[in-house]
């Protein structure tokens, strides 16, 4: 029952977004021309910058990003191995890592581009008898040759953790509160991180190991660029 509720909630939100006038569409070719000019073959996933309140989000999030990027057609450097080496080299912490000159990553790993990720939200917000789980990831690809931004998108997933409507009255309220507590305890952020990744990865031009490589410029998606910068 809960799953169905979740699916419908998510699809309804999506539908609303589609219908509402604020959702402007753009194409991959129009939005990310530099990806098609530079066509990087390999991506180095850097340990994420964790801006959420959950200290464990960083390590957990890293287990979700390697597969979808590879399936999009890029050579993705081995995430666990790379992050371990970065720890040994003393560059695992975001402050150091995100201030490094990008050509260092080309020099050491031979990577064409790096993927920066920022965990913006990874939490459950409580209301009186309900709770919302939010996972929000901002992702950005930068060239190691020109240091320019080639691609950027944000994936956000909000899930209503309160149980189904179990009738009115005070008893119903109590049951709802209990269900919410149980759901929150079992809330698996990683599942939703996978979904948030899916949101932004569908806007990423396909890589050289994919049959759609350099053939997907016309694919449409929701434009996230703030109007003022365009």
């Amino acid at each position: 029952m809960n799953n169905i509720r979740m699916v419908t909630n998510i699809s309804l939100i999506f539908l609303l977004l589609l219908v509402s006038g604020c959702a402007k569409f753009t194409t991959k070719g129009e939005e990310f021309p530099k990806m098609y000019n530079e066509h990087p073959r390999s991506l180095l996933v850097l340990p994420p910058m964790n801006e959420s309140t959950d200290v464990e989000a960083k390590g957990y999030y890293m287990t979700t990003i390697e597969m979808p990027l590879a399936l999009t057609g890029y050579y993705v450097f081995p995430v666990e191995m790379v992050s371990d080496i970065m720890k040994q080299e003393g560059v695992y912490d975001s402050e150091v890592l995100y201030n490094m000159p990008l050509d260092k990553f080309y020099e050491y790993f031979g990577a064409d581009a790096v993927l920066y990720t920022r965990i913006k939200k990874w939490d459950v917000s409580y209301m009186v008898i309900a709770a919302n789980l939010t996972v929000s990831i901002e992702a950005e690809i930068l060239s190691t040759k020109t240091s320019e931004q080639l691609w950027k998108y944000t994936g956000t997933v909000v899930v209503d953790l309160s149980g189904g409507n179990s009738g009115g009255g005070l008893a119903g309220l109590v049951i709802n509160a209990i269900v919410t507590a149980i759901n929150t305890a079992a809330a698996d952020y990683v599942t939703y991180a996978h979904r948030a990744n899916g949101r932004f990865i569908q806007t990423l031009p396909f890589g050289p190991y994919h049959e759609m490589y350099l053939k997907d410029q016309q694919i449409k998606f929701v434009d996230q660029t703030p109007p003022s910068t365009k």
């Binding site: 309804l12 957990y60 890293m62 590879a70 993705v76 191995m81 371990d84 050491y108 990577a111 190991y209």
Partner: protein, 128 residues
């Protein structure tokens, strides 16, 4: 009748399912076994047992890579498993896996050569 919210929701679900069903008919570009699940399980407890499970899951993904559309081992899979071998005191196997990564994905050659050289220096492994 048809305009009731129940019906619309049902329709949406059916749509979602039919779309995913179509996509699933083709084998994926790579076969990962349960890599993301066992990797996450390892990150949660960081125990030697879960590391071994992760290693075995990856070895199976490598063995079964023929099931995928590309027929190749996924990017980084040989390297990651090689790194586990290295940490478990099996430098020879590690160098073998790093070499395979490099052969399947030339994009990794620079990094793999660096690693192989490092292992040979610190562990005294001879390149075959």
């Amino acid at each position: 009748m048809l305009s009731s919210p129940r019906h619309i929701i049902l329709l949406l679900i059916i749509c979602a399912f039919s779309v995913t069903a179509c996509q699933k008919r083709q084998p994926p570009l790579y076969y990962y076994n349960d890599y993301s699940v066992s990797y996450y399980a390892y990150k949660k407890d960081m125990s030697p047992e879960s590391l071994l499970k992760l290693q075995q899951s990856m070895e199976k993904a490598i063995d079964d890579s023929g099931q995928s559309k590309s027929g190749r081992v996924p990017p980084g899979m040989y390297a990651n498993v090689g790194y586990i071998y290295l940490k478990s005191g099996k430098p020879q196997e590690a160098v073998g896996a790093f070499t395979k990564e490099k052969n399947v994905y030339p994009e990794s050659a620079h990094f793999m050569d660096r690693m192989i050289k490092k292992v040979e220096l610190t562990e005294g492994v001879e390149d075959e």
